[in-house]
């Protein structure tokens, strides 16, 4: 067996180092620019961001559970899974809980996760031609990846909510199938 250091030799437990915000900012900015060059429409742009986020969601879910495998529990119901997303997952990704999780009063099987200032949008200013583009589609993809592989098929969309007199905020609309 080879003795070269491989990915399997790395420790999965929490590293003490923080990730540089500017490093993330630059990397994400470049990601959006790259997609924007090839995308055919705003929906396509958001769709590609969501797709990339999806892969991240799958990996993050496995990682979080493996770090805490004695205590991790499969979620059989929607709401506990959403709570996991808006607390544990959010804390891991952004260092804080999501602002709010609520169930829709109008539509069945629809939930909203509120976020005042998504990290993804921190260094992005959307020109008018791009309309309602919201780059938090990346985070929406992460949420979708986590929900989907946990057994809850859902469509997650990052929607920009305009609030008069205040900075726009983002709401992730989670619409479950069935």
């Amino acid at each position: 067996m080879e003795h070269r250091r491989s990915i399997f030799d790395r420790d999965i437990s929490r590293s003490r180092a923080d990730v540089s915000l500017s490093a993330f900012g630059f990397l994400f900015s470049e990601l959006v620019q790259q997609i924007q060059r090839e995308a055919e429409s705003i929906n396509d742009l958001e769709g590609q961001l969501e797709q990339i986020g999806y892969g991240v969601g799958v990996k993050v879910l496995e990682l979080l559970a493996a770090r805490d495998r004695r205590n991790f529990r499969h979620k059989h119901k929607l709401v506990p899974c959403l709570r996991f997303v808006s607390t544990t997952l959010w804390r891991y990704l952004f260092g804080k809980d999501a602002d709010r999780l609520e169930k829709s009063s109008e539509h069945d099987n629809e939930y909203y996760i509120h976020e005042q200032e998504p990290l993804t949008n921190m260094f992005i200013s959307v020109p008018r031609e791009y309309g309602a583009l919201n780059c938090a589609a990346y985070t929406a993809g992460i949420v979708c990846g986590v929900l989907d592989t946990s057994g809850f098929t859902a469509k997650v969309q990052a929607v920009t909510i305009e609030e008069p007199g205040e900075v726009d905020k983002t709401v992730y609309v989670v619409k479950f199938d069935e």
Partner: protein
């Protein structure tokens, strides 16, 4: 409960029945992702029959998941002297182990847990696509090592 598989199984000639064979299988949403036959001291491996036994246990894994919420599902099925133990990762990747009754549950749980950690490291690789067969030799080498540590 008696399933159609049991009827067919009972009619198989004796020499085809798995004898103290041990096999580990990783199953994704729709197909097997990884397979390992583990030679134990008193084994006469029966190859594809072990696979048959493990695949027919998959439905019972789903049932067991309704009752347990932990990752380790313990024994989900039995075939004569052999048991099938299962472990499901949060993204619903299933680990199945066909083993003798005498195998300690702690050893099996530890084996599954260590394989899960290997799986996570594999999954974190951006070049590895979720729910596709595992071809990494590094993964295979290390799973074999774990098998000889916990299951030999």
């Amino acid at each position: 409960h008696r399933r159609p598989n049991d009827e067919a199984f009972a009619q198989l000639p004796h020499r085809l029945i798995p004898v103290l064979a041990t096999m580990f299988l990783i199953v994704g949403r729709s197909e097997p992702l990884y397979e390992l036959e583990i030679p134990t001291v008193s084994t006469a491996s029966a190859g594809s029959l072990d696979q048959f036994v493990l695949h027919s246990a998959l439905d019972l894994v789903e049932t067991a998941m309704q009752q347990h919420t932990g990752l380790f599902l313990r024994t989900v099925d039995s075939f004569g002297d052999l048991l099938v133990s299962a472990y499901v990762t949060p993204t619903h990747v299933k680990f199945l182990l066909l083993h003798e009754r005498s195998r300690s549950e702690d050893a099996i749980r530890s084996f599954f847990g260590d394989v899960q950690e290997l799986y996570v490291k594999l999954a974190m690789n951006p070049f590895c696509v979720y729910d596709t067969p595992i071809v990494s030799k590094g993964f295979d080498d290390r799973v074999r090592l774990l098998a000889s540590k916990y299951l030999a």
